[in-house]
Point group: C3
């Protein structure tokens, strides 16, 4: 049973659009998701949403103007149906200066 | 066995007192807890403690004066006895400007 | 099977060198690691690397000059071989002002 767990290990790698890193759930269950999206040399405020099937679930912000690198971080346990898609969306701001060191991870805590 | 896992998915929802969102452990084991408490339009420094039965285990801080939203985040693996209570406490500062986007989650990693 | 999980619960406790808190994997599998390294009264920028067998996997930064306590946080799911060593390394800056409230945790998500 446990081997049916699925995992995501991604350094977000798509340009100006975080949407390409989509996790699609292999089965129904409770999943743990967390993300740290880092903005680099960028004075804008960014807002990152964790999306489930095009609906925002949680958000995180990074808005410090005087800091080289700052992370918008959050995490959540989610009830996910089979084939639900979970991904990050940059709701506000850009990642023009880069997003190196960003992470997005999720795993099945237990199946339902 | 795995189905006996328990979970918390809360957006903290009680006014000026985080204490109402209490997780009570259904069984002995190692639990993973993490939290992101966001202060909004608030120049105070906040300190958030993760409490286990009225004792602080870990703390997190948010103290930037010039940032609209900032999170006090931390996480930990805890050995928890059955019926232990785990919750967040605002040790310092207030959440007067709001705490939207805050999360507190925990799950059983393995039973003991 | 589940009882063979291993866990780390550490408040980083070695001076100026985070390397002493090494997690050595008891078995092959996917592990979840996360850390929050807090700098206190310290105007330097710190960079913290999560190391796997002396290679950096992810990094986090804290560089705000005007804030008393700030955390460099990140987390990741890692494929770990038996006896791999995972630890934190302070790649840049010092923790001269202290690192109280820092955490480093990891657990086996599922064996391989």
């Amino acid at each position: 049973m446990f081997m049916q767990n699925n995992l995501v290990l991604v350094n977000i790698g798509n340009h100006f659009d975080l949407k390409a890193s989509v996790f699609q759930a292999p089965r129904r269950g409770i999943y743990s998701f967390s993300f740290h999206v880092v903005k680099v040399y960028n004075r804008q405020t960014i807002q990152v949403n964790l999306m489930q099937n095009d609906y925002p679930v949680i958000s995180a912000f990074a808005g410090d103007q005087d800091v080289t690198r700052e992370a918008a971080s959050n995490g959540v346990l989610l009830m996910v149906e089979r084939e639900d898609r979970v991904y990050l969306k940059l709701e506000r701001g850009t990642l023009m200066g880069g997003w190196k060191y960003s992470t997005f991870s999720g795993f099945l805590v237990f199946p339902l």
